[in-house]
Symmetry: C2
Subunit: 306 residues, 2 copies
């Protein structure tokens, strides 16, 4: 089924304890589209870039089956740029630079062919911009997934709550779930967030895995303990891309299939953090992915006493 | 099979965001013995208390099948006392008071009947005292498990490494694994710690579950997301007690059975944190425990794509 992906396509410059990059390709929608492309080839990307963005990166997305009709290219302007430095624990980072550039006046325009998308993935963006995407839809998607971050809770909580009220599934991390709900217990936080509108909630806990909530139902996906995390940038977006790509490919949004999707998303994220930027998302194949999924299954497998 | 438990039997005074206790019964060996008693009744406790310790608490242990022949009672002396206050996140705490009392000169003496124990659980204690227990054993146990904490890494690292070299399984938390190994990655930390002697390692991650390492084999046990954690005191000891009690009851130390034991230990710990002190470990039954274990299985269950 068709998948619409809206989010940033951008440049990142990243420093971790393992090294440092120049400007490399990044942006939420880039990670989401690349991860989703391992599951489905009916992907429509809506975003904005400047004329500084390399054509071969666009061509790479196209070669992965991503339709870029909705990708605006602003002549003479510069693409969004973010630069950050991770601390030794890899869980915290300092932002060194944020240059909005083309993102400052981004008004997403959905091509007609995307307005009836079956699955919609709204990557992290200004909540008001995420809302404008939903307003352009001409039919109700099977699933709208929204990703956001604490930044918007700090400066645009009302807009965020408004758009959260119009989606089906929210993905945030544990600290953000606590901030959004005002509850420390994640069980209580999830209950409050689900009351805000979304029927489903995924709480991402990084190296500690992810939780999927739906009503009183709960699924826990572990994270594979990794030898080394080189670069956590894009891990959350890659998770979201694998998650919604897997769902869009099957068209099945039963809770059982969502559990699988959380595992597939986590598998994609576990590859992502092993190299800088999007590097690890290039050249994987489905066998690699399936074999990683089997590792997730083995990791938690035990047989209760008979 | 017979289980020897060595550790503190003590008083605690605990303050959490949910309330405050006067002096209540605590101590690593108390939690370990109570948790283990849900699985096996061949438990021998070696510890030391003062004459201030209430007889009904000893009687309660006896009623749970715990043999207290190795429990020294120092007339006219006071029992070990610890007091602490948990922060709002429940993951960090301040120690308000530590009165060693009888513990200061504790010299564990194993009754002859315990010297050939099949399973040995060394609760958190001075590493030199833990070593003196091992030295008194007259036959090689099937499994020696040792629990310790960062405090001993700070002040007695050589003694600790010495005793760690003589055991089969070490239980510590993630921060302690990092401190002991000097590695941030838990996979690398585990490899280094296993090189120090123990064939098995359990890394406890509190609300994020636990990892069991054995050579290159790895098992991940989640934690049940709880509505509320009232008091984390004794959770690690309760885990250890459930773990070794389950193993001692079956006598089976295959990796598959150890995985089950990690789940049973975690199930016991999930009860423990729901009430103050040892309160939740009184009046459970095996059906409660089995039903909680089923929750662990359900929590992570998914069916891969066929």
């Amino acid at each position: 089924m068709s998948l619409l992906v809206v989010g940033t396509v951008a440049f990142d410059a990243i420093e971790t304890p393992f090294g440092k990059t120049d400007k490399i390709i990044g942006g939420a929608a880039t990670y989401i589209s690349l991860a989703a492309s391992y599951f489905t080839s009916d992907i429509n990307l809506v975003s904005v870039i400047g004329s500084d963005f390399p054509e071969e990166s666009i061509d790479h997305l196209k070669s992965r089956g991503v339709n870029v009709d909705g990708l605006q290219i602003k002549e003479g302007e510069k693409s969004f740029f973010w630069s950050g430095k991770y601390h030794n624990d890899m869980n915290t980072r300092d932002t060194l630079a944020t240059e909005l550039n083309v993102l400052e006046h981004f008004d997403p325009v959905l091509p007609d062919s995307c307005k009836d998308a079956d699955f919609v993935m709204l990557g992290n963006l200004t909540p008001a911009v995420q809302l404008r995407v939903i307003e352009q839809l001409t039919s109700t998607p099977k699933l709208i997934v929204l990703d956001t971050m604490n930044f918007w809770m700090d400066i645009a909580m009302d807009d965020l709550k408004n758009v959260i009220g119009k989606i089906d599934l929210l993905t945030i991390n544990d600290e953000e779930a606590r901030q959004l709900s005002g509850e420390y217990s994640l069980v209580k936080a999830a209950r409050k967030i689900i009351e805000m509108g979304p029927k489903y909630l995924v709480i991402k806990k990084g190296e500690h895995g992810a939780l999927l909530f739906h009503g009183e139902r709960l699924f826990y996906c572990p994270a594979i303990p990794l030898e080394e995390v080189f670069d956590p940038t894009g891990a959350g977006d890659t998770f979201a891309g694998g998650f919604i790509g897997f769902l869009a490919a099957s068209g099945d949004i039963s809770f059982d299939n969502m559990k699988r999707a959380v595992i597939y998303g986590s598998a994609m994220a576990s590859f992502c953090v092993g190299k800088f930027g999007t590097e690890a998302l290039i050249g994987l194949n489905r066998e690699d992915v399936n074999s990683r999924v089997k590792e997730f299954a083995d990791l938690v497998h035990f047989t209760p006493v008979s």
